[in-house]
């Protein structure tokens, strides 16, 4: 009896997880994904990833401008590159796992 109900519970849990789209068949869930499945947590993480890349880009551009005594050319280039790196970070976060 005990074992039976255990098995049926596991089966129903699997079913429910599959319906909710949380568990693909035969796909291993990574540890981080499991912890950060909630939408606000993911949104916060995506936000920080994007902001931090932009911060690094702007800081690098500003530093290079100071170093070479140019006015804002590196800042403009690196702000754009930093924004792109932020999008890349977010894509790495949300992209479907590789087969």
């Amino acid at each position: 009896m005990g074992e039976d109900s255990d098995e049926s519970f596991t089966k129903r849990l699997r079913e429910a997880e599959r319906r909710a789209g949380q568990l693909e068949e035969g796909q291993k869930v990574s540890v981080v994904d499991k912890e950060e499945q909630s939408l606000p947590a993911l949104a916060l993480r995506a936000g920080t990833e994007m902001i931090s890349a932009l911060v690094v880009g702007v800081a690098a551009g500003w530093g290079l401008d100071r170093w070479f005594h140019t006015r804002a050319i590196f800042l403009i280039i690196f702000a754009l590159l930093g924004g792109s790196a932020g999008v890349l970070n977010v894509w790495r976060l949300v992209k479907p796992p590789e087969q």
């Binding site: 540890v31 981080v32 912890e35 950060e36 916060l44 993480r45 920080t48 990833e49 902001i51 931090s52 890349a53 911060v55 690094v56 880009g57 690098a60 690196f78 590159l81 930093g82 792109s84 790196a85 932020g86 890349l88 970070n89 790495r92």
Partner: protein
């Protein structure tokens, strides 16, 4: 911290000299004091937990062993067999942050993880470690990771800077995540606590309605207990993931 009708939510993060004249002379603020306290707490927990060294562990020893096993399996499962070498570092990192987050939840205490200087220092330490480990494990092939495989050579001037910036943004995002979570939690505590004081000024009706913010604050304490352990865990697991990439050939 919030007095009267004005809400001063950031006052709780201010650094002040502690320990009287000696602290004043040394510029010794709450932040290092609570860091020392956190380190001592973790050490005491492990020392007194493991002192019996019984074959059948008591409660305290069982708790210490669970912590050890948890971090060890996380390090070895994520990084691979080489993870055992990094286990002490990750253990220290996880429990230092966890102790900092939890000590900060006690009334009248200070959360040192709510300062970007602290979290950035931790993240930069992790970042430098991963770079050194990468260079030792992979040599100059490490730099090949900055060019995505299969991309056209004409795109290299664009792709390589983006990859480098993406790589450099790791410590920044690692530190901002912990810092922002801690600051947000403590600011919310302060806001709802000051609502209680404001409502108390409206007589009996205010007293009744003040139950609302108190209930929210109690729920927030539960949420912060979760956030505290989750952020320490995320910091540790991301360190593991970066180290796995570093030791991979």
């Amino acid at each position: 911290m919030a007095g009267g009708s004005s809400i001063d939510v950031l006052g709780q993060f201010e650094l002040r000299p502690v320990l009287g004249g000696l602290g004043e002379a040394l510029r010794f603020s709450q932040s290092p004091l609570y860091m020392i306290l956190a380190a001592c707490l973790v050490l005491a927990f492990l020392y007194f937990g493991m002192r019996p060294a019984a074959v059948v562990p008591g409660r305290f020893q069982a708790a210490a062993e669970v912590c050890y096993e948890f971090i060890r399996s996380m390090a070895v499962d994520t990084i691979g067999p080489e993870g055992a070498a990094f286990f002490p570092f990750i253990f220290t990192l996880f429990f230092f942050i966890l102790a900092g987050n939890y000590i900060g939840l006690l009334p009248f205490s200070f959360t040192f993880t709510s300062h970007i200087a602290v979290t950035l220092a931790l993240a930069v330490m992790v970042f430098l470690l991963t770079v050194i480990v990468s260079l030792r494990a992979q040599g100059f092939r490490f730099f090949a990771h900055f060019m995505p495989a299969g991309a056209s050579m004409y795109l290299a001037p664009l792709l390589i800077p983006i990859e480098i910036l993406s790589f450099l943004s790791r410590p920044v995002s690692l530190s901002i995540r912990l810092f922002a979570n801690m600051v947000a939690g403590h600011v919310m505590f302060d806001i709802f606590a000051s609502f209680v004081i404001m409502l108390a000024g409206f007589g009996v009706v205010g007293d009744v309605f003040a139950i609302g913010p108190i209930a929210i604050n109690m729920a927030l304490v539960a949420l912060e207990l979760l956030v505290g352990v989750l952020q320490a865990y995320v910091f540790a697991i991301l360190t593991c993931i970066y180290l796995r990439e570093a030791v991979a050939h």
